[in-house]
């Protein structure tokens, strides 16, 4: 589904990611791990089209999408949930959800998708007319995933979905991610500092350090690798 | 002790430079025709106003659309004192400077609390509103027709054939030189450095112990004084102070002048002044050679100002002087990183 080859991104003179390559098979879940500043967010920002790569290629479902901007990629089925959610506080929950699907023409399809999303996150229906800024951290994360799903994406990029959330909420979100993969074949690229919960739901893992890939492989193997965990993932 | 000597050096250097320029101007003025002396005079009084404005905007970061109105204050002060009350020229010009500086201090206190577009909007309101006083109090300010100033007579010692225009040029150039000397010293002084610091990063400046508001007000007062002095010189040269000469267009022309010359640069203020005086006559020539209508001809300079403002700010935000500086930098190889890379 997604292939990244030798991807490099600069912020000014600083190289945020350097020659990163990874592959996410269709229906697979890949976790990108590493300490703060390792380049994980930069990687997602580049893939999602918010930031232009300075080198390398991104191939999505067979098509090269390297220099395309974010708003076009959304229409191709690539949804990015940034760190913190990317929820617009001044709009209501309903408006945020609606925004996620507005680029689609078919009104009936939009309404059907809304029903599906609400079924996954019933809390959103309860809070429907409230301003998004009044939501709790967990609810905001649900809203941000929900509105990403409103576009019926084939690939979901998630940036630190567990950040600042209580463990029970994190568990719920990871469960939802697993379900989405099982029931809809959704492909997920997941960035996390919380390596343990990420590797528990992922098939494969990629570890970044200072913009380079330092380890890659099966999630269980990575989780079991003591040395790796202590060196790059903290005491996860 | 060492510090005093250092300051002394800057002052001496600037004095020598000013004196040198004065000598050059003297010879130029003696060599050119009366008509060109009038142009020289115009360039001089525009320079006085522009120099103050470019220091305000370039050095201190505050934008003002009201300096045309401040020039009006200076002009009307001279007109009233010389034309109506019979004052001598020099005291009247001093008074014009002081009065305008006083009004500038009031404006400055308000301006110190405003930023960016808010400051622009408030000074715009000042520029559009002040001419209304001339209508409201026609007895004092002569209404639409304004006040007339009798031409300044050259002193007898220069001979009876000495052209009025040359004398006016000398007066205007004197004001310009005073402004140049004062502002050159300001730029290098502690106050000038404080102004730059506030422009670049207000929070940091405040944390470093600078009184931000006082710096802003000082900059406004200085620039207002220059505008008043320039306006006074304008009144003397054109022998008239009328509301029609001080519309919003004047303020916007001044803005064009400093943008064109490069914000914060005194040599740039000279470029700007030259442009403001020469552009109308160049565009007249163009209009004549293409036999354009009078409507087009009279509006051509204004159209050019608009294009300059938009073009310069989009393509070369540092103006002509900045472009010259950049060229100079490129010709001299440097090993250190550029400013942007270091950020």
């Amino acid at each position: 589904m997604l292939e990244v080859e030798g991807l490099t991104t600069h912020y000014g003179p600083v190289r945020a990611i350097d020659d990163v390559s990874l592959a996410v098979p269709a229906g697979g879940i890949v976790a990108v791990l590493g300490a703060n500043g390792a380049g994980k967010t930069s990687l997602l920002r580049t893939i999602s089209g918010l930031v232009r790569a300075t080198g390398g290629r991104i191939v999505f479902d067979g098509e090269t999408i390297t220099q395309q901007p974010a708003e076009d990629l959304v229409r191709r089925g690539l949804a990015y949930v940034p760190e913190g959610g990317g929820v617009i506080g001044e709009l209501t929950v309903a408006e945020n959800l609606r925004l996620g699907a507005l680029w689609r023409r078919d009104r009936e399809e939009r309404s059907r998708t809304l029903d599906e999303v609400v079924a996954i996150f019933p809390r959103l229906a309860e809070r429907s007319s409230m301003h998004a800024s009044t939501l709790s951290g967990g609810e905001r994360q649900m809203l941000s995933i929900g509105r990403a799903l409103m576009g019926r994406p084939r690939l979901l990029l998630l940036d630190e979905p567990s950040l600042g959330l209580a463990p029970i909420v994190v568990e719920q979100i990871m469960r939802v991610i697993g379900e989405l993969r099982r029931e809809r074949g959704l492909t997920v690229l997941l960035v996390e500092q919380n390596a343990r919960s990420a590797l528990s739901v992922a098939d494969q893992g990629v570890v970044l350090n200072v913009g380079h890939v330092v380890a890659q492989g099966d999630a269980n193997e990575l989780a079991g690798d003591e040395q790796l965990r202590r060196a790059y993932l903290g005491m996860a | 002790m060492r510090l005093a000597r250092l300051l002394d050096r800057t002052l001496v250097r600037n004095l020598l430079l000013t004196a040198a320029i004065a000598v050059v101007l003297l010879f130029v003025s003696l060599a050119i025709t009366p008509f060109n002396n009038l142009r020289l005079a115009s360039i001089a009084y525009y320079f006085t106003a522009l120099a103050g404005l470019t220091v305000l905007t370039g050095l201190n970061g505050q934008i003002s659309l009201g300096h045309g109105a401040l020039m009006a204050v200076g002009a009307y002060t001279v007109a009233i004192l010389v034309g109506r009350d019979g004052w001598a020229l020099v005291p009247a010009l001093v008074a014009a400077t002081v009065v305008t500086a006083a009004i500038g201090s009031v404006l400055g206190v308000v301006a110190a609390r405003l930023r960016g577009p808010y400051l622009a909007g408030a000074t715009l309101a000042f520029a559009v509103g002040l001419p209304g006083l001339a209508d409201r109090y026609p007895h004092a300010f002569g209404g639409e027709n304004g006040l007339i100033i009798p031409p300044p007579q050259p002193p007898a010692g220069l001979g009876s054939a000495f052209p009025l225009e040359r004398w006016e040029a000398w007066i205007a150039c004197a004001t310009a030189l005073i402004a140049f000397l004062a502002l050159s010293n300001l730029q290098r002084s502690r106050v000038g450095r404080a102004m730059r610091a506030v422009r670049d990063d207000e929070v940091a400046a405040q944390l470093a112990g600078l009184d931000v508001a006082r710096t802003q007000v000082t900059a406004f007062i200085v620039s207002a004084a220059c505008a008043g002095l320039g306006g006074g010189a304008l009144a003397v040269v054109t022998q008239l102070a009328a509301p029609g000469a001080f519309t919003l267009v004047l303020s916007l022309s001044l803005l064009t002048g400093i943008v064109l010359g490069g914000l914060g640069s005194l040599p740039g203020a000279l470029w700007g002044a030259i442009a403001l005086v020469m552009l109308p006559s160049w565009s007249d020539d163009i209009a004549n050679s293409f036999s354009l209508s009078t409507d087009v001809q009279s509006n051509l300079p204004l159209a050019l100002y608009g294009v300059v403002l938009m073009g310069v700010i989009v393509a070369a935000p540092e103006g002509i002087q900045g472009a010259v500086r950049r060229l100079g930098r490129r010709l001299r190889p440097r090993s250190s990183m550029s400013h942007e890379e270091a950020a």
């Binding site: 507005l102 | 622009a120 519309t247 267009v249 803005l255 409507d295 608009g306 294009v307 938009m310």
Partner: protein, 292 residues
Amino acid sequence: MSRFVDLTLNGISNGMIYAAVALSLVLIWRATRIINFAQGGMLMITTFIASSVIESSGSYWLGFAVALVTGLALGAVVERVLVRHVEGGPPLNAVIATLGLLVLLQAVAGMIWGGTPRSFPPAFSIRGYEVSGRHVLFGPFDTFTVLAVLGAAGLLALLFRATGVGLQMRAAAFDPLAARLQGVRVARMYTVGWALAALSGSLAGLLVAPSVFVGPNTFDAILVFAFTAAVLGGLDSPVGAVVGGLVLGLSLSYVSGYAGSSLVTLAALGILIAVLMVRPEGLFSSARRRRI
């Protein structure tokens, strides 16, 4: 007493016009965080165009329609060609760029239509209604003014609250990055925002035209009034623009009546300064008080 009533009615009518221009300033500020100093010049051009169309075709409504349409187009063109380059940069650049446009537009108007003021025929009578034997300072054209501006404001509100495009525009204004991630073509939304703002401005120009002789400098003061009204109401708030316009219109009407019409602009300056010193975020702003 009757003078007071006259001044009040006149203030309401003028206030609606200021509100319409203030509304366009607010729309642009919300979308792109820029004060469009050229707004007065833009609406002047569309009004001049309307004047020419009316003169040559004899139809007021045709001129009216043409003014609105050219307003839309002018707003879109200005955003794409000029404003795009200064969006998101230092605020000083946007100020200078829009001022440059103002100067150019004034010059162009002078070139095409000359400096002599023109008259502009109103669609409805400007003669005041007759109330108990005398004519008040409020006639059919003033009724039209009030209804037109309220109608336009209402339509805009409907657009923003109830349509998809409106939602996308609001999203682009609040959080352009998040909006992009939801497929919103942010740049296009900015263009639409500027076009709508210019439309509102054109309407104001058409409504003010009959009462002033239409010359290139008459519109300088309008910008001052609109800016004051917008700041008074809160630059973020369209409702504030309408209320601010009304309050300003009334205040200036009283000043004009009791202190002299040439002091009106200075009075606006006074109100502007007072608001900026005391409550800079305006009456209706939802933004937290921030140091301007």
